[in-house]
Amino acid sequence: MISKKRFLVGGVALALIAGTLVSTPAKAASSELVIGSVLDIDKLDPHTSTNFATVRALGLVYSSLVEVGPGNKLKTGLASSWSFNAAGTQLKLVLRQGVKFHDGSTFDATDAKASLERILDTKTGAAGRANLLTITSMVAEGRSLTLNLSVPNVPILAALDGVNMAMLSSDDIAAGKVGGSNKPNGTGPYKFVSWEPTQSVKYVSNPGYWMGAPKITNLTIRVIPNESSILSAMNAGTIQFGIVTDPLIAKQVSTKTLKLFKVPALAYYALQLNTKVAPFNDKNVRLAIQCSIDRPEMINTAMLGEGAVSGPITSPAYKSDPNARPCPKVDIAKAKEYLAAAGKSSGVTFKALVTSNGWATSVAMAQNLKAQLARADITMDLDIVDQATYVPRWLGADFVATLANNGGRIDPDTMYTRYFTSTGNLNKVATYSSATLDANFLKGKSSGKTAVRTSAYTAISKELEDNAVWVWLATPYEYRVATKELKGFVALATGSLLPLRSASLG
């Protein structure tokens, strides 16, 4: 009897295993790509999407007037050309001809105007609204859209890139058919097919796409809520593309069997300091922190070497020189001098707000920084909370210091005006502003000349570092893992999946 039972159990197990070997589903057809993502998308409205996964996913369906391409250069998108007037107060965009929405209607200037108006409408709650506030009026004529600006604003062009600036059909907007449970209707390379919450988003190629129909005809973003499982799924061949953020997982990718794409991200890590409260209301204490930190050590330990030291501005054209700061290398002696100058020779203690699940290496970074600061008699106590708790505290500047992962943009204006200008809507969080910063931001915004902008942003970077307003640490990498059969794909620093439109399998 015992042996019978065991036999039964063993037999069932064997049958299952045998069955799997026999009936493994046929390998995906060569024009189908399945992408593994830890996060599911959270909505279908491009203008209010802030979640990385949503932005990535909707970026395949919607297009914007301009695009950021490889090398972080601005490229034409739905706008085929543009020009500023001499004063820089008027931007004329010529729209691409022959672009159709997925529902068949034509894209023209009325759609562009309606889309921008929707972003500006406070009722929408659009994430990119602040970047368009200098627009006083818009004129739509056939294929051209003219934006009249209140002040010269050159960076507005770069601000027009991205899913938050998606071009929608004016009919959809008028009928209120955007977001909610409405099927996305865009001009992008892929048509939205379905969204099964917590499971997948499915797409099919858009045959009428203005760059030519994508070679990969079917796309699926499949939710696999664990990066280790994503890697396993790739090794087993059940998915062909994976979005990985954890350097520990990226290190395990076998380049013999898979392709690993790695590009420096525009996002950056910083220890934000609250300059309005003790002990960081004293500049000397802030400088002491800056000098106690060995950034390469943090990168090597917490990020396994997968990162680069950075300054405030990560926009490639105006990138900050990481050595242009009071302590480009760790200098404990100097740190102690600063502490003495602040009257704190016996040491300083403060609490740092850290998110436990905001990004993969947050807690590791915090631990290493804590150990480093201890060498200069600075005690950083860790206050670790989950992301949803972290957010309201971050927004309310309810912290003495916080380890943050902030997004970067290709233009320093869109990247930092919201933080460091006195009228910026996140200035409360940045806790610092000055007349000189305001002046320099205005200078950078108004001029079209690279030399002028460079001097403005160099000055801004210098002021931020010399005052140790925040302690800028490093930039990570964006990782994409793909099957060796994927050709023609290039990874972008913005994380966008748009290059899939020109890619092919096999």
């Binding site: 009897m1 015992i2 039972k5 065991r6 159990v9 299952l16 799997t20 009936s23 493994t24 589903p25 593994g36 599911d40 959270d42 909505k43 279908l44 209010t48 802030t50 406070t122 009722k123 709650g125 994430a127 609204r129 602040a130 977001g179 909610g180 449970s181 969204w195 919450p197 917590t198 499971q199 997948s200 699926t220 499949r222 939710v223 696999i224 809520p225 664990n226 280790s228 499982s229 396993s232 799924a233 090794n235 087993a236 061949g237 059940t238 998915i239 909370v385 989950d386 992301q387 949803a388 708790t389 957010v391 309201p392 971050w394 927004l395 919201r418 809507n425 996140l426 409360k428 969080v429």
Partner: protein
């Protein structure tokens, strides 16, 4: 309490309702106590770009502008009338969401319980055959070792080894319900069920082993000089049938536990169950989804408990 049977059941039902009421209040309060709300949960740090008027608008939209007591009553009355609320981000009703995720979790818990019972009985029988021997010791030890490994370690190890060495990872494919593709569904449930089943297997193994040993002792002595040696295996079968009753009633409780404990397994094996639904909704502070999902869970759990209790009382006449 020597109440008549019918009023006994009525009393039980009343206590069930009170329990459920308690849970609804508890979950409501707990959610409001946690920092963050639906707005920050959905927009993250970009909430900072909203104007105060926009925030008021959103509060109205999410229904979190009303006083707490009103929010509670509007939720609980909708719930009782079948409207479980709305998951604002997805534009899908909680009822629909739960309708697809609950079966997954129930199937997982069911298979977990079954696999646990099978494993437990198998090891228990293996050990009981020669009590006190090395075989017995190692049988028990094996059961314990499996229990001692944290669930997520075991799960990840299984996934990694199966995928990397054998190229086998059914959970890397789209999840299939049993009616869509039974074979794929069973494969996707196989390893997660085994991992969950281990926690069930341990007590089952112990109960099986001791029950077998007890009966074997008695029967053995009784029949030793009597009819001649009866086949041990016949005794085992008889004993097993009797031991199954307490095992089954115990697994009723375990089943309920598994419903709540499956979230880690659901994450690693990418199963779209209730555990993940609740966890994701908590992270996004989607109050309606969390509240209603937890209530559904609680109703299920309490019902299972009630049924198990009734069966237990029927079998064990000592308890009144």
């Amino acid at each position: 309490m020597r109440l008549a049977k019918t009023s006994g059941i009525a009393a039980r039902l009343l206590s069930v309702l009170i329990t459920l009421f308690g849970i609804s209040v508890f979950i409501f309060i707990v959610l409001r106590v946690i920092p963050g709300d639906t707005i920050t949960g959905s927009l993250g740090i970009e909430t900072g770009v909203l104007t105060p008027e926009q925030i008021d608008d959103l509060k109205r939209y999410y229904g979190i502008d009303k006083p707490l007591l009103l929010q509670y009553f509007s939720w609980i009355t909708s719930f009782l009338s079948g409207d479980l609320g709305f998951a604002y981000s997805t534009g899908v009703s909680v009822l629909t969401l739960t309708g697809s995720s609950l079966p997954v979790t129930i199937e997982l818990a069911l298979f977990g319980t079954i696999s646990g019972v099978i494993m437990g009985i198998a090891i228990g029988m293996f050990s009981a055959k020669k009590p006190g021997s090395a075989r017995d010791f190692f049988g028990q030890l094996f059961g314990l070792l499996a229990l001692a490994i944290p669930g997520f370690v075991l799960s990840t190890a299984i996934v990694t080894i199966m995928a990397n060495k054998f190229g086998y990872f059914p959970n890397g494919y789209e999840y299939m319900t049993p009616w869509e593709d039974l074979w794929m569904n069973l494969q996707q449930m196989l390893f997660p069920s085994i991992v969950l089943g281990i926690a069930v297997a341990a007590p089952v193994m112990r109960t099986t082993r001791s029950a077998l040993l007890e009966t074997v002792d008695k029967d053995f002595i009784r029949t030793a000089f009597g009819k001649g040696l009866k086949s041990r295996t016949v005794q085992f079968r008889h004993v097993l049938r009797n031991s199954l009753i307490p095992i089954v009633t115990m697994t009723g409780i375990q089943f309920g536990y598994l419903l709540g404990g499956a979230v880690i397994v659901e994450k690693i094996f990418a199963l779209p169950g209730m555990g993940r639904q609740i966890l994701d909704a908590i992270n996004k502070r989607e109050y309606a989804t969390v509240q209603s999902s937890v209530m559904i869970f609680a109703i299920l759990f309490v019902t299972i408990n009630l049924v198990t209790d009734i069966i237990y009382r029927r079998i064990d006449p000592r308890i009144k």
